[in-house]
Symmetry: C2
Subunit: 495 residues, 2 copies
């Protein structure tokens, strides 16, 4: 029976029959009751509302006579097609309300309406052609059937996430990232931002946080939202300058495998320096955000900072957003023992934010080796695109410098031209190219306005043709404004 | 190729070949490389690590000679079964590590190990026999296929949740709860506690929160974790005493449809009083947690407080944890316009915490009427259990009073006996009955120690036999300690 909640006021001026009539009429006008929908029988509705049958009969009769309802003998009352009677009160919902989602790009710029964009160079796009749909479907189906057969589907799961998944991720972390941890140290959560919020509750607050700038601004905004104060620490070619971390900082947020957006890889000596900083004070912690560590195209794999040595100051943060799909919303956090204890004391009652179904789908994807094969395949696909983009940019006189190559899903390209970054972005946009600028990645008050424009060129979601065409168009945007240079200022690539 | 991340230190005392040998050996001993697993070929590993082939050959040869690896001609190197060589360093993982999850009960008591419990009366258990597994599987499969065909599976979704799901929930809310809202006002999140955390970021803080006591302590702890200060406001038969809300309070958390744990339904006049309080100051808001509103067994359906009148002070919080399954982790929050604006400004960049797949599964479950049918069916199943439990308790001389009947999935039973609440719970536990006491639901410092014991008897997850047997056993626990009473103190039931 359709749930019709009619709040009857027996003391009101209008009769009960009128209240019922008006409620149903309004629902139909609003579109809440759709054409052809069957209403409860008069007998059922009267029972449901604890009123007399004749009252409901009267209301229904009125609605039939006015054309809102149609009575079908032996079948019931149905909502009529009221066509031109539609109530333009604005209560109806249209597809225009369906905004396109904000893409995860790490910077502050909003995505323009998609139909205008022909070349989407925003970071965070992934290649959906190469995705293992069949394997994913198989894992989803098996996970559901398995949970059902074990009578596990309905019950609430482990607050830290299902054990088998934590174990599978721990195994992957050890083999692929050199991070040693027990599944007991891991907490699975619905995205990195959620885990940072959880971590803040574990750490207590407020705290002073050191971040690089430019950086991944979603993390910056998350810290601000939860009441932390962020201090931008200067960076050099090796990342955050540890000796310039101010007093009072008790939390340092870094991406040592592949910094966003610059792509800097923090070398070992800087990592050791950072670890020494953490051990040099009480209650100091490092958050290692290991996003994007799966896709390296040259050089030795870079192990995670967390794995360098046994320590209790590093919180490791990883995600499947890039390596599987952004819509899956599974991230994981490895807590050192002191924080694990604090987590259990203060946050252990929170149920997991990821459904069991979803967790066990990913678990199977991992343990049945689909993840490994998928990563290998995607690495190959992304490498081709990466190499192509690099090749297209190298040797261009309007390219001053390239950052962050050889890993990840985007390049940062410093331009030799007299346009400002905003001007380049606007011109590109008018040609159907959506691209972000580096200036959108600086912590407030930390920008360097007289720098050359730096664009973030994400290539993950583009085809090779789109990359080629996009760069050609981009060249046309800037080429008339390329700055004069001497030979001694020739562009070079840094990693 | 299996990812083998070996951090080679060219400056170390041990040779590269020894480092490779030791890494692989340790992985095998730890169980990270399992028996029968195939290692990368020497050629591939050498390429991967950027070292000479002969170095890897030497390491592999050593491992073969010592029985860790087996070489199969034309096939590769495989990990041997090392059986008795297992390294008892504690790095292996056993099933004993798999703790049972903490049940959502709303109170502070931990669940004992499940194999000892024969009658689990904890609140929050649901009946899994009646679940529509086939329909759920169908919706999951269709949702996945549909997302895939629309090329929507991989891309990040709308931060507030998928529009179709928000619209389906909004329609349900209007018809079943009398709450009128646009999908644009709704934010979908991975659980109530997450949405409260999000709300705190939207509201800014810190704030003083008014809660009833006893109450749903998970909400209380969440507020404490996010830095809010909670004030326990006295309650009476109608719920929170609005005229006793202290100055400085800007947030009131209530469950007006069916308070946890007492089951109080806040009548209309108290709701209007609460709304008047909210409108009587700046930046005051009410959080209406409408959990458990789906299951009423007698009386008219109680519409939500949010639907009484158009207002901008009430945040409505709902969840599918009880009505579908606790493991699905989908809750939703309806924000009044001023807070919706604040949400977009401060938190609009957070990606949704629920995967698209999951959202569209629930959306189909709703729009294809499975949810409605499921609710009707479950309401019938729970009503039978509810009525049975009530019948078993009525007339018992050791039952002083029953709270919260006629709705929800538990009863609160005040006992007439001379045992303390802890003693009753312990005795029941020794008989295999797991039950929670009311004292575990009071905000710290707000307990009334000389009250009679009050037990929360959740019946959702028990069979009728288990309910009968459980109450018989409970009677044996308390019957020798029933307090003497006069006839004028006869027990009565309140709703």
């Amino acid at each position: 029976m359709k749930e019709l909640l009619i709040e009857l006021d027996t003391g009101a001026k209008t009769s009960l029959y009128e209240q019922i009539y008006e409620y149903i009429r309004r629902n139909i006008m609003d579109g809440r009751l759709s054409c052809g929908e069957r209403l409860p029988s008069a007998r059922l509705l009267a029972e449901h509302l604890k009123i007399s049958r004749s009252t409901v009969d009267a209301a229904y009769a009125q609605l039939v006579s006015e054309g809102y309802l149609q009575a079908k003998r032996g079948s019931g009352y149905y909502v009529c097609d009221i066509g031109g009677l539609y109530d333009f009160t604005g209560h109806g919902h249209t597809d225009a309300d369906n905004e396109s989602g904000k893409q995860e790009g790490g910077c502050d710029e909003k995505i323009p309406a998609e139909q205008e964009v022909r070349y989407n160079f925003l970071p965070g796009q992934i290649d959906d052609q190469g995705f293992a749909y069949h394997a994913w479907r198989k894992c989803a189906k098996e996970a559901l059937a398995d949970l059902e057969s074990r009578r596990q589907l309905l019950s609430v799961g482990h607050p830290q996430g299902e054990y088998e998944l934590r174990r599978a991720i721990a195994t992957y972390l050890y083999q692929a990232r050199g991070v040693y941890c027990e599944p007991e140290q891991m907490v699975i959560g619905a995205g990195n931002e959620y885990l940072l919020q959880l971590l803040a509750q574990i750490l207590g607050g407020p705290r002073l946080v050191a971040m690089e700038s430019p950086t991944y601004l979603q993390a910056y905004h998350t810290f601000c939202n939860i009441g932390y104060t962020v201090s931008a620490v200067p960076v050099d070619m090796e990342g955050m300058q540890v000796d310039r971390i101010p007093d009072g900082i008790t939390l340092a947020y870094v991406m040592p495998s592949h910094q966003f957006p610059l792509g800097t890889v923090m070398p070992l000596r800087r990592r050791l320096q950072l670890l020494a900083w953490a051990q040099g004070g009480t209650e100091r912690f490092i958050i290692e955000d290991d996003y994007d560590s799966e896709f390296r195209y040259t050089g030795r794999p870079i192990p995670a900072l967390s794995g360098i040595t046994r320590q209790e100051q590093v919180v490791y943060l990883g995600t499947f957003s890039n390596s599987i799909m952004p819509s899956v919303r599974i991230s994981y956090m490895v807590l050192p023992q002191p924080l694990l204890t604090a987590y259990k004391e203060t946050c252990g009652f929170y149920a997991s934010t990821v459904s069991k179904e979803q967790q066990m789908t990913v678990c199977r994807f991992l343990t049945q080796r689909y993840f490994e094969r998928h990563l290998n395949k995607m690495r190959g696909i992304y490498k081709v695109k990466h190499d192509l983009l690099l090749q297209l940019l190298r040797g261009k006189f309007w390219v001053w410098r390239i950052y962050g190559d050889h890993a990840g899903l985007h390049l940062a390209v410093e331009l030799a031209c007299s346009l400002t970054e905003e001007e380049v972005i606007a011109r590109a946009r008018s040609f159907g190219i959506c691209v972000q600028g580096m200036s959108g990645c600086y912590i407030a008050g930390n920008k360097k306005p007289d720098d050359r424009p730096i664009l973030l060129l994400g290539f993950g979601g583009l085809t090779q043709e789109q990359i080629q065409e996009g760069i050609q168009i981009l060249e046309r945007c800037v080429v008339h404004h390329a700055a004069d240079r001497t030979d001694s200022e020739k562009k070079r690539t840094t990693g």
